[in-house]
Symmetry: C2
């Protein structure tokens, strides 16, 4: 029986208004442990591609239809998730309209790039967002 780490997908969502004005990045207040702020994301289902999982999770958690722009990376440090070993594929994506919380997202926030609350982020999302900002 082959056992591998759990696989998830997380989104760095760049939110724009209808006039293409950049509004900021989306973070959620998690409903389930670990509690804190996080990028929206979730586990990949068997029978679903990672990209499809990302699009589905963004719809479920923040009610946004996202367009994937690029794969930022895979984060798989065995200690990054306090629950069990999870490897996550992080995608940079774009969305319009207003996010609304659902599923595991208790609340949704929009942050300007230079106002990101790094000390309130769970998992390794501080590292992920710093990696993202460093390659902008």
């Amino acid at each position: 029986m082959i056992k591998t780490p759990h696989l998830s997908a997380d989104g760095i969502i760049k939110l724009y208004d209808k006039n293409e004005n950049y509004q900021g990045l989306i973070l959620i207040q998690r409903l389930n442990p670990p509690h804190g702020l996080a990028l929206p994301g979730g586990f990949v289902d068997i029978g679903e591609s990672v990209e499809d999982a990302l699009v589905r999770e963004m719809k479920e958690e923040v009610n946004l239809d996202v367009e994937i722009e690029s794969l930022l990376g895979i984060y798989s440090d065995p200690k990054r998730d306090p629950r069990f070993h999870t490897a996550t594929a992080v995608y940079v994506c774009k969305a319009y309209c207003t996010p609304r919380s659902g599923d595991d997202a208790k609340e949704v926030f929009i942050y300007k790039d230079d106002e990101l609350p790094f000390d309130k982020l769970v998992f390794d999302h501080e590292k992920i967002l710093k990696d993202y900002l460093s390659v902008l």
Copy 2:
């Protein structure tokens, strides 16, 4: 109980001799089904990062110490592996010296980029290698 696709790591190994002359890309003849030519790779263990799994598998299958250069992508089409749903992280890497088969690799081959035997490749490795060549 959360179930997600199996996670593996595959390597596109650019082989060089000691004088930095490019020799070609490495493919293996698989010992286990599905039989055919493939990129070297294998499953990620729980407690191991994807990059560590890649380095370990390259050592086990073709006896090379690889240096990872970049992440080409994640391939996760549910039908890409005939056994079960596997998502694979594909890394471009560099190695020196002579490969030697081991583990799941029955035999090792070195192919020039313009002589790759696309019709003999298993899984979605034809697509992966074409993606790699298209971004060179």
